[in-house]
């Protein structure tokens, strides 16, 4: 007989675990499942299923306004995520070499925007951009999105960097690699999984953003979430469900890619 019964310590063996887990998953996914289900409705209702069809997806792909907004969103997310990743990498490289107290302070400054209510950031950005005369539009969106993407990109990058053996860079220096080659040949390749997940996280956050985008987007620079919201005001049809489902699919794809990269690296 085992000295300690490890089975009884496993949370999965507690009574009611299965029910609790099922309810929790249902709570998380039921609304999304309903959304996806009604996107296939053959009727115009979003609460009564008449039959199944692809018509609303066809409508989405035929809608030039949606295509334009989606293109804006993707372009914006790619630019914002890329610039944010570069800046976050620079911050992470500098901060990992700092002394503990200064690093804690820098970390707090960098991550504080995550705690600020987004509506506050949105209004602040709006007021700031109009007072410096930048106006609304794609340029303002790029700057604002880059800004709020930095802390998201920073977290996976710094996690990867701190788990790296600092002796690796010392070893590269010892073996005659100058600073730039140490960075490109050793640090950067080893940092790659962190960079990719940081970029993907920033991309998703930018793609999904509504509040800031709704304040800063001007005519012609509407993003997809902002456009979906404007569609709602004209009455909800399963077309909204269809375009929303597509966004869910895109997000899930990014999560899966980032999961695969993380698994390959361990």
């Amino acid at each position: 007989m085992a000295l300690f019964d490890t089975r009884s310590k496993d949370i999965r063996n507690l009574p009611g675990f299965g029910l609790t887990a099922t309810l929790a998953v249902a709570f998380l996914y039921a609304p999304i499942l309903f959304l996806v289900l009604y996107s296939f409705n053959s009727g115009r209702s979003i609460s009564r299923l008449d039959g199944l069809s692809w018509q609303w997806y066809q409508a989405v792909f035929a809608n030039e306004e949606i295509a334009g907004a989606a293109l804006n969103s993707v372009l914006l997310a790619v630019i914002a995520a890329s610039v944010a990743t570069v800046m976050a990498t620079a911050a992470a490289l500098a901060m990992v070499r700092m002394k503990v107290r200064r690093r804690a302070a820098a970390y707090a400054v960098l991550n504080f925007p995550l705690m600020v209510p987004e509506i506050v950031t949105a209004i602040a950005s709006l007021i700031f951009f109009s007072s410096v005369g930048l106006g609304l539009g794609f340029g303002s969106l790029v700057i604002a999105h880059t800004t709020f993407c930095i802390p998201f990109a920073y977290l996976p990058i710094t996690a990867r960097l701190t788990s790296m053996d600092p002796a690796l860079e010392s070893a590269a220096a010892d073996l005659y690699a100058r600073p730039w080659r140490r960075f490109t040949l050793i640090t950067l390749p080893l940092l790659a999984p962190g960079l990719i997940s940081g970029w993907l996280l920033a991309f998703i956050v930018s793609l999904d953003d509504f509040i800031i985008s709704s304040m800063l987007s001007g005519p012609g620079s509407t993003t997809l979430p902002v456009h979906i919201y404007s569609m709602l005001r004209l009455g909800i049809t399963p077309e909204v469900n269809a375009v929303s489902s597509l966004m869910v699919a895109a997000s899930a794809l990014v999560v899966i890619i980032s999961g695969l990269i993380a698994r390959k690296q361990t």
Partner: protein, 358 residues
């Protein structure tokens, strides 16, 4: 003559961390000369400054004061990539995304050597450490001992003038460590490169080194050949750290040193001086108290018998400090055996008692 040249000369070398009251003097103005072609070991407990000293020679850290000359050239202020020294790191620090061959050839690639030369050197180094056939593996597909060999080959590939080794055997299991000791020593002889080896393991140091610097508190406590360090420790710290010794407080009197419970021990010194007597546990014979002669230590009482396979050890009380005696098993001396409670005396081999200033 190459052999007469000094590989590394340290002059007044000091390294202080922090400032003011919290300042910590990791190295306290060390003067040390490491000769060419020697296997030189820095030995000491953790925090003694041995790793700091190695980092200063490697260029990973800069001294607060003092000079470092490598083969006559002052290297103060130079980064690691400008020093003709290579390092085997404690964690090996193999590049995980590169193959064994790429790791070993890294330095030569950085130095811009032709591809053919790199390939030839890599093949030679891989053969030198016995890793033929593993060239295309990545570090995570290697065992601890194999990683160790790759780290060695990688550091030796550019042909350093001095090889620095930072506790390279500490991550290996006991058996492998034994074998790597002989291999390292053989490698040093074959290549003729000066090895500077850092360890806290006295057996390792004694077994491999030409000379040892025993360090403690940022200072070199004793510098010498393994025999000198072991047989003639310069002070209490060295006697205790290397091999362990019975350290007995005593006062020099007429005819010898007087120590509580031990009578008069044959020892020389200034009359009335407070001293420490250092006696190695294996240089004492243990006899029944009835056989005590003048000059023997005792009578003492056995309080513990510790059987260790090849050795038998006794703990004895009756003096001002508990004493230890170690006997080999088998042979003449090994025939002796006692049990706790027995009354015994100790007879030191001639020259076994060292008088240290206390």
């Amino acid at each position: 003559m190459q052999d007469q040249e000094d590989a590394c000369r340290l002059t007044g070398l000091g390294r202080t961390y922090g400032k003011g009251v919290s300042a910590h003097r990791a190295l306290d103005r060390i003067d040390l000369t490491i000769r060419s072609n020697e296997f030189f070991t820095l030995l000491g407990p953790s925090g003694c400054g041995k790793t700091t000293l190695l980092r200063l020679i490697g260029g990973f850290d800069q001294p607060t004061v003092g000079e470092i000359a490598i083969f006559g050239r002052n290297v103060a202020g130079l980064p690691p990539e400008d020093r003709p020294v290579n390092t085997v790191f404690q964690t090996y620090a193999l590049f995980p995304h590169l193959t064994v061959a790429q790791n070993v050839g890294f330095a030569l690639r950085m130095l811009g050597r032709p591809k053919a030369e790199i390939a030839a050197t890599v093949a030679r180094m891989v053969a030198l450490v016995g890793l033929e056939g593993m060239e295309h593996r990545r570090p995570d597909q290697l065992s601890g001992g194999q990683k160790q060999r790759v780290a060695l080959a990688r550091a030796l590939a550019p042909g350093p003038k001095i090889l620095l080794l930072d506790e390279p055997l500490s991550a290996l299991d006991a058996k492998l460590r034994q074998r790597m000791r002989s291999e390292l020593k053989a490698l040093q002889r074959e290549t003729g490169i000066t090895f500077v080896f850092v360890t806290h393991d006295q057996d390792e140091a004694l077994a491999m080194s030409d000379r040892i610097a025993v360090m403690q508190g940022g200072r070199v406590q004793q510098l010498g050949k393994p025999e000198e360090i072991y047989e003639a420790p310069a002070n209490r710290f060295v006697a205790d750290f290397i091999g362990g010794a019975n350290l007995i407080p005593a006062r020099i009197g007429a005819g010898g040193a007087m120590s509580e419970g031990l009578g008069v021990v044959p020892a020389k010194g200034d009359l009335g001086a407070e001293v420490t007597l250092a006696i190695r546990p294996e240089r004492l014979a243990i006899l029944p108290a009835g056989l005590q002669q003048p000059g023997d230590l005792g009578p003492l009482r056995v309080t513990e018998r510790i059987y260790m396979g090849n050795e038998l050890s006794f703990r004895l009380e009756g003096a001002s400090v508990p004493l230890h005696v170690t006997l080999p098993r088998g042979g003449l001396r090994g025939a002796q055996d006692f049990a706790p409670g027995d009354s015994v005396c100790l007879r030191a081999e001639p020259g076994a008692i060292r008088v240290l200033a206390s």
